[in-house]
Symmetry: C2
Subunit: 454 residues, 2 copies
Amino acid sequence: MGEPTKILLDESELPRQWYNLLADLPSPPPPVLHPGTKEPVGPDDLAPLFPKDLIAQEVTTERYVDIPEEVLEVYRLWRPSPLYRAHRLEKALGTPAKIFYKYEGVSPAGSHKPNTAVPQAYYNALAGVRRLTTETGAGQWGTALAFACSQFGLDCEVWQVRASYDQKPYRKAMIETFGGVVHPSPSDLTEAGRAVLAKDSESPGSLGIAISEAVEVAAGAPDTNYALGSVLNHVLLHQTVIGEEALAQFAKVGLTPDLIVGCTGGGSNFAGLAFPFLREKLSGRMDVAVRAVEPASCPSLTKGVYAYDFGDTAGMTPLMKMHTLGHDFVPDPIHAGGLRYHGMSPLLSHVYELGLFEAEARTQRECFEAGVRFARAEGIVPAPEPTHALASCIEEALRCKETGEEKVILTALCGHGHLDLAAYAAYLNDELVDHELAEHDVAEAVAALPSIPG
Amino acid sequence: MGEPTKILLDESELPRQWYNLLADLPSPPPPVLHPGTKEPVGPDDLAPLFPKDLIAQEVTTERYVDIPEEVLEVYRLWRPSPLYRAHRLEKALGTPAKIFYKYEGVSPAGSHKPNTAVPQAYYNALAGVRRLTTETGAGQWGTALAFACSQFGLDCEVWQVRASYDQKPYRKAMIETFGGVVHPSPSDLTEAGRAVLAKDSESPGSLGIAISEAVEVAAGAPDTNYALGSVLNHVLLHQTVIGEEALAQFAKVGLTPDLIVGCTGGGSNFAGLAFPFLREKLSGRMDVAVRAVEPASCPSLTKGVYAYDFGDTAGMTPLMKMHTLGHDFVPDPIHAGGLRYHGMSPLLSHVYELGLFEAEARTQRECFEAGVRFARAEGIVPAPEPTHALASCIEEALRCKETGEEKVILTALCGHGHLDLAAYAAYLNDELVDHELAEHDVAEAVAALPSIPG
């Protein structure tokens, strides 16, 4: 028996704290602005949507935040998640590179999303909230929140982007199995949804529109809060449990990664794995390159602008400085629904501006090719989202084959593709259409950004 | 932190041998007979379909069989599988019972099936075979074999029962992602399939028909063998890795189960968990009750007869003494496709006749009710097959609530239901139809059993 295939941690080794990268950055990110006054928002502005504990986590500059015991108890259903050494993929590629993947598909929703859904449901239940509303793209987040709500006795109502709702009926069934309720978005249940439908009754929807709908319902009901599955600081904070575990797992085999690769939509999976490693890098304890991979059809980091924009389509959210394609941008309905978001997390955008990681964009076809290659070697069918990172990893590993470099590569395998098999069928039947965004599309998309004084 | 949620084994603790219950039974099972001569079959009779190593395992009376290193290397992609303590389900039920589940859904196919698919592909590749054919019901076995073939460079061709092929299109996509080819059964590619279609062009198919098709193709091509996902001795042997791990995991927490509950179709998942525990029971080292749960629509153990019958519909296989509903029996197209088989494993049938376990039958609706209850508490959506065992477990745990008994219950959670969510949707929308088999249906089904002299 050679090196282990799975590097496991015991439940007693589950991290007890989330890590807050804000504490270690050389400068803070630009403030979040009120959409009306365009002044920095305070905790009170967020109170109609979020409980006080999450608002506190959104703005804290403490380096570590304790994970409540009630959250740890639910985490233990699947955490610590395994770190895999991809022995069989390396062999199939004939590469001297050592490829590792941190696998979040073992969670109830099959992705990294429950890492934040569980604490969000917990803090809301603690605050006496009865119902959470949210949006979902591919459906991973909606599933995660429905599961989390079932654990803490909350109702859960989900607006799912219609493109995904139609492509992935199993996601609705899974959300309902966990006790949640699902609406396709745009829906006629909200002002925001009706406005979109009035312009285009066949709208495929977008995360931005679905957010508007969920926020509108939460803002209008006293016992109801809103939950977001990515983008915000507290979401990224909760996801750092991934990277903390990975650090402990690498320590067990006496290695450190030379390169970390993750896919980015809103940025939470990527940040969750990368931030604890960036702490090590910033402190000089570790020399590691970090790479974000986004879809060519929705390339906020590589083709968007860094500017203040709304998080949603209707302009109801605070203004955040981020890499954005414009809040009106509706990306083509690609299969990686979790990456179809017009903006990038403001914190991650700031970290990108600080030069702490690189970014690249890839087309669907090369991503699914990597996904199939990975599945046949490793036995896990990846979700379409992490195939973006896998495509980059495989290219890097083949580069190492040329140079003979034994690079240690770590990738975030943030979910399985069991509910995305229709996409694999489309790829295998050569029916995938690729949508690469042209420069003029981007220019058009960002033309309507809100103007910020000063 | 209380008792652990997951009891894990290290890869170094992966069992190195499969266990053969035949070595410890007070009497051997009745011989398998040649369909023509009705004399006991010898190894040569099986050679057109199976490689010599598997034939040897089919008839061996050795207590332990070494697991080849090449098989262990693939097993390590997901094994040892976790043993879970269902803390949250216990709490939801308010029971003093301690419920454990051995979870096989972490495998590449999402079920226990790769435990035997991998060694079967390995031994066939070792023997120079180029292609394997097989049948599949729910699709779990076809997926497992396609994955296993991808690991050893074999082609894989799968006949899938049409009822499941139509209900579960994602399974086809998953088999194809692993590189396999899928045909709905009955198909017009074989004599056996054409004969069924001639009688009923809308036939929903059955495992018996699909076996006939796959066997026919394998028997007619020199470089092609056939692989079976349940029923046979060597399949049950390979699955004992489940029970051996569970024994080691219980030893870690200093407990032994009072009751083991598993679902039965062909019997391999149930036998895989139960046989190592039956060894302990037969030796007097452990006192444990064992219970098989089958679907009310296909109740071979509880309503079938114990008689010689064919394993397939066309009557091409050897005759095996087993609990059977008759090889012509086509069960209603329930969602637990993996349990839709007319017969029970001959070895397991013999063990049942020896009084070593009990059996009961349950309807779909109560099984899905248990599945949803389990999912909301534990976060795992179970495949429809193991919900049969869960329904029995939950009933038992509620009985313990009445009596105050702290019974230790172990159930085989043999797979996840990610590709069965249409069935959950049907249950949640109250669209499930239950099919309980009447006595006269059974009498009719077994009327045409072959006559055996003596």
